[in-house]
């Protein structure tokens, strides 16, 4: 069981005269499925990045079981990220010099379970024919599936998904949402950022973001 608490988190990017995220509070517990909706530019990605330990907030705290993650040493924060947060970037991120399988193996080496079945994930994401290809040779949808497979290779406790259905056809988009939903059963937590209301369901803890302000729906 874990708890990630976001406490009055604010972000003002240097060079901007406005706050992209304004004093947001949120609590994430194991088994939660949280969705954040909002217009483009409302600060969803910024908030998600800050709660994932990837972007230090201008003010406010992110607490992992009561411990402030940005007060950890850089080493401790890196290890915290590797074990606890799987971040699905809005734009696909992979190591370009490694094949899909190698990317997954690399990812697994940072994760919680060194014996996790990579081949099962490859099958789950329909990447059998792409596993030995470099990311640059894949289609946009295949690349996104590969990135999600890489994140799940680490078996993280929280999955932060920033528009995970981008680039995907409706069949694959539904499959991915089902896979994310299944994580709840394994006591993981999911934070979904989307502007597609199709993926918003009643069993989710729903938030709406507007001009940097976060409100529960």
């Amino acid at each position: 069981m874990f708890e990630l608490t976001i406490e009055k988190v604010t972000k003002q990017y240097s060079g901007n005269d406005y706050q992209a995220v304004k004093s947001c509070d949120m609590k994430i517990k194991s088994g939660d499925f949280i969705s954040i909706q909002g217009e483009s530019g409302s600060g969803k990605s910024s908030l998600l990045l800050m709660m994932s330990g990837l972007l230090p907030p201008t003010s406010g705290r992110v607490l992992w079981n009561g411990e402030s993650i940005y007060d950890m040493s850089d080493n401790a924060l890196s290890i915290w990220r590797s074990k606890n947060v799987g971040y699905l970037f809005q734009n696909v991120q992979l190591v370009q010099a490694l094949t899909v399988r190698e990317n997954m193996l690399l990812s697994r080496s940072f994760g919680n379970d060194p014996t996790l079945d990579i081949e099962a994930l490859i099958t789950l994401f329909g990447l059998e024919d792409e596993a030995n290809k470099l990311p640059s040779l894949l289609s946009g949808g295949q690349r996104r599936r590969a990135m999600i497979a890489c994140v799940l290779s680490r078996d993280p406790l929280i999955v932060c998904a920033d528009e995970p259905t981008n680039d995907l056809d409706s069949v694959w988009a539904s499959k991915i949402m089902a896979i994310l939903n299944d994580l709840k059963k394994k006591d993981k937590a999911i934070v979904l950022v989307t502007h597609d209301s199709r993926w918003i369901t009643d069993d989710q803890i729903q938030y709406v973001m507007e001009n940097g302000e976060l409100n529960q729906a």
Partner: protein, 262 residues
């Protein structure tokens, strides 16, 4: 006194043994006759740039006797001596020695002084060369650093991604140092190899243009310098890797990714 310039290892001259200066034409000769006395050439001198180049060196006791025998009409054989080489003890003063020779007006050339002068000049050149080398090294570090900075910058998105999946700064450091160390190792090896190939002709050229003797290039020298070349290149590479890495590593993973995407 002339030892640094003698081609072979010789400590004493026996009667009938001579050493020829570099300008004395002894090509093909093993022995020759001086003042009707057979002499054996046991060695010759490297160029010294002094009167020694045109001289033949032999034992002064023998020469005195030969002068008496060959110039009986001359009551003072010493007047036929045009040049004498005197070796003083290490701590002896040249001036005091000269004062002690009464009645001989001699033109004194001190090889020791000459050596000191040469040594000073060589020292000065070495300093200049070392300074030049230091400047070149610094320029190299700057050039390689910016090159490596570019290489890291081109991959900054990947670095950000690796940091986001949990790679620590020290792991990242190690990864790049291994990668760029490999570049350093191979370029150090090939660079030094080229240097080694060039140093032979270069030293020959220096030898033919210098009056001082120059040490001979041997295998050990080559190997030591090959290793030194590799080690120095490797160190330059490491310094050049560490500087851009420190600059890059300050960024948060998200900053790295956005920088790489624009």
């Amino acid at each position: 006194m002339v030892k640094p310039w003698i081609k072979d290892k010789i400590d004493t001259l026996k009667d009938g043994e001579i050493i020829a200066g570099c300008n004395v034409d002894i090509e093909g000769l093993v022995s020759l006759t001086i003042l009707n006395y057979p002499m054996t050439i046991i060695s010759s001198l490297e160029p010294t740039g002094s009167f020694l180049d045109d001289s033949v060196v032999c034992n002064i006791g023998l020469l005195r006797n030969l002068a008496k025998i060959n110039f009986p009409e001359n009551p003072d054989p010493f007047s036929s001596i045009t040049c004498a080489m005197v070796r003083l003890d290490k701590n002896a003063s040249i001036d005091t020695y000269l004062d002690s020779i009464i009645g001989i007006s001699a033109n004194v050339i001190s090889v020791t002084d000459l050596q000191i002068k040469l040594q000073n000049e060589i020292g000065m050149f070495s300093t200049i060369l070392t300074l030049l080398l230091a400047v070149i090294m610094i320029l190299c570090v700057i050039a390689i650093s910016s090159q490596f900075y570019m290489m890291i910058h081109m991959r900054i998105k990947e670095v950000g991604y690796l940091r986001s999946i949990g790679m620590t700064r020290s792991q990242l450091f190690r990864m790049f140092i291994m990668e760029f160390g490999l570049i350093g190792l191979s370029s150090g090896f090939f660079g030094s190899l080229i240097g080694m190939a060039l140093i032979g002709p270069m030293i020959n050229w220096v030898r033919s243009n210098l009056t001082m003797p120059v040490s001979v290039v041997d295998i050990k020298f080559m190997l030591i310098h090959l290793l030194l070349g590799i080690v120095i290149t490797l160190m330059l590479c490491l310094i050049s890797t560490i500087i851009p890495l420190i600059i890059t590593n300050r960024l948060s993973p998200h900053e790295m990714i956005t920088k790489g995407e624009l």
